[in-house]
Amino acid sequence: MSRLGTITRRTLLVGAVAVAGGAAFGIYQIRKPVENPLTPDQGATLNPYVIIDTSGITIIAPRAEMGQGVHTTLAALVAEELDVDFASIRVEHGPPSSAYYNGALMHAALPVADYAMKDWQHTVVGGLAAASKLLGLQVTGGSTSTVDAFEKMRYAGAGAREALKAVAAERLGVDRAALRTEGGFVIAPDDTRIPYAELAMDAAARPVPDVGLRPQSDWTLLGRALPRSDMRAKITGQAQYATDIPLPGLKFATVRICPHLGGGMAGFDPAPALDLPGVERVIDMGNGVAVIARNTWAAMEGAKAVQVDWTPAPLPADMDGMFTAIAAAFDTEPNSTLRDDGDTSALPDSAINVEYRVPFLAHSTMEPQGATAWLQDGQMTIWAGNQAPRICVQVAAEAAGVPEDAITLHTTFMGGGFGRRAETDAVAQVARIAAEMPGTPIRLTWSREEDMRHDFYRPAAMARMQGAVADGRISHFNAAIAAPSVTRAAMTRIMGSAPGGADKGHVEGAFDQPYAIPNYRVAGHLADLDVPIGFWRSVGASFNGFFHESFVDELAHAAGADPLAFRLAHVAPESAVAAGVLERVRDMSGWDTPLPEGRARGVAMTWSFGTPTAVVLEIARAGGRMRVDRAFMACDPGLALDPGIIRAQMESGLIYGLSAAVMGEITFTDGRADQENFPDYDGLRMFNTPQIDVAILQDNPHMGGVGEPGTPPAAPALANAMFALTGTRARSLPLRDVADFVV
């Protein structure tokens, strides 16, 4: 049961002591507190991250736990300083609050390649955390959670520990420095043991002593593979997702929204639905309907039965029309040229000119979109898996017509996120339905078909690549990238308008790669195509990694060079860290040893979200079909806080990327997605997932993310391996269009 108790965002705790200050300018500013949003029913809260009561210790990990293990690592940061038994702590998401701003989101703000950032630039970026604090950006994304939390959550643990010791010191009449802490107890020199719970109320009411952080050499939790805090709940069916909340008198809802994206509804007849057993109500949602029933199946059957007159989508009628709209962007002025070294205008006659393209993709989380809401006496309670709690509150308030401070949001576990749960569409829907039915709790579950047809898709994208080699090296590399802008689409949804200026996210994974090339240009062109698009695991790097690393392979072939040695020759002068991951996959995969007939290897390396990640794939032809047999990955996220979770994220990112590379494709006819369920849009399964070896290096001086960097190198490594095996270069995805895979 929740230890948070009743939370209203206006409530300021008695004795609230904030120890989570800004990481602004790299200096911990303990005297600039954030408001503590926690108001536990029992026990005491020492800061926004720690609640102590007689039944134990609860750590608030204010980032979305969507499978990436963030709850475990964030809790370990607090526990490392707090001296509690890690196995016995509870971890919760916490409420929507500006206290939980993500200071590291701004790491992506400077128009500079991460690998090339100077120390002063890292300092500037640290200062930008203040902007995130000011805006109260409580957002999970961009592989930033651990970077953001690394100092402030350890300070939260240390501050709480010292406050508890200060209270104990007063009671015992001894000096605080004479006390030690262990396993949730303050221990006096005479071995008197006082449980934290007996000290917490007083500790919460006093200022936090100045504290420093323990040196890495003293760590007992960080740097180790810890048991995940959510594991037992998830293997016993006890973990609660947004549609698992038991409530009295619960009714079950689903929606059917105009499948022609951007279209609407001219009219509908609910009668056929209302004739079905269990269907109780059909609600007009403006551009579609919601059906309320005694169970979800009845609601879904009802939704299918409603007669609806849809209006058309304002989109090109087919994929040719969509790619024509994307290609048209090449003729416009580039939005960005964040890489523009030397002169790429005068290409030699031997230059290669090729075009690449990738399709739209769905997130396809295992858990379809859904949420639960209950309006009682003007107060609305919402349960939702989400990556942006404060934005959820805003859209729910608007949809339900209630003030924001009448909304309580509980963030539940998420059945996958991958960027999809940064969107708030299902939350707005459930709020609207619950507002139509005051007093009745509503559990909204989308069908898989609704989920696949109403995604915020990874955009289709194209690249025109020009390049040349001279003396075994790349002399020219000129990339033009065209796609609709995810950043602008998402910011327009959230803020009502899009930021101007260079869109860095659009060209990430291409402009910011650590290659020493004298004439090197990456131009980003923003396409005018209004398909709903959003953040999809690794965002721009999900397509730019494919373009960049496939084309590097083409240039290696043109130079007659080994693709891995060729990369190293260009990368080593720019970044020893990136060279390190390439060398490691070379050694792990036995790259320099020949393979038997019918087998081949491919390599790719992408630096994204602060972490260079190299992949070698070994593929085999078996009975005319292609299969990926082995995968070797090396990443360098710098300090590795939990190698078990990092390994799991690397495997996960790779499989997500390979699934898309082999079979991922969303196409539209009249603005309606042609794919509707897993048989049309599948992922890798047990039988076609390769054996995966992961190496984690720690030579990177700056901590990087781990949730996304495994994805970008997957597709190019596979396409490059296919070239090595067949001599055919795949310049579009998915690869099942050009080869028969084991699926």
Binding site: M66, G237, A298, M366, S652, F678
Partner: protein
């Protein structure tokens, strides 16, 4: 009209429509939410439960057709060798598919106490995991098989 069914050794009576899939009877009528909805067409395995000791996709079993006692993840117990292996290998990420994965793996081991990799591929191929926990699942199944064999 009401229909009686036995779930996790408890008898329930429901007046839901006879066509209602077992999945939604479990989740919405009986509040047993450990079993998950993923696709509704037997393409992902998230809803896997046992009926009369056999793994089935509960989204495809009509309430009126249930032919034996039902076991869900809640009824499997929480200390089975399979779950212990899942914990040792830290299998779950988002966790949403894991109830179905575990129920399917339990069925596999009940029929085949020492499965090969090919056996695991064949038995588990219908269970999708978008987080990509497959290598950990494979290792956990082998581990559980070893533990259970060792106990015999």
């Amino acid at each position: 009209m009401s229909i009686t069914l036995t779930v996790n050794e408890t008898e329930y009576r429901t007046d839901a429509a006879p066509d209602t899939p077992l999945l939604w009877v479990l989740r919405d009528e009986l509040s047993l939410t450990g079993t998950k909805f993923g696709c509704g067409i037997a393409a992902c395995g998230a809803c896997t439960v046992h009926v009369d000791g056999q793994a089935v996709r509960s989204c495809q079993v009509r309430l009126a057709d249930i032919w034996g006692p039902v076991t869900t993840i809640e009824g499997l117990g929480d200390q089975t060798p399979l779950q212990a292996a899942w914990e040792r290998h830290q299998v779950a990420q988002c966790g949403y598919c894991q109830s179905g994965q575990i129920m399917q793996a339990a069925d596999l081991l009940a029929n085949n106490p020492s499965p090969t990799d090919d056996d695991i591929d064949a038995a588990m191929g219908g269970n999708l995991c978008r987080c990509g926990t497959y290598t950990a699942i494979r290792a956990a199944i082998h581990d559980a098989a070893d533990q259970m064999g060792g106990a015999q």
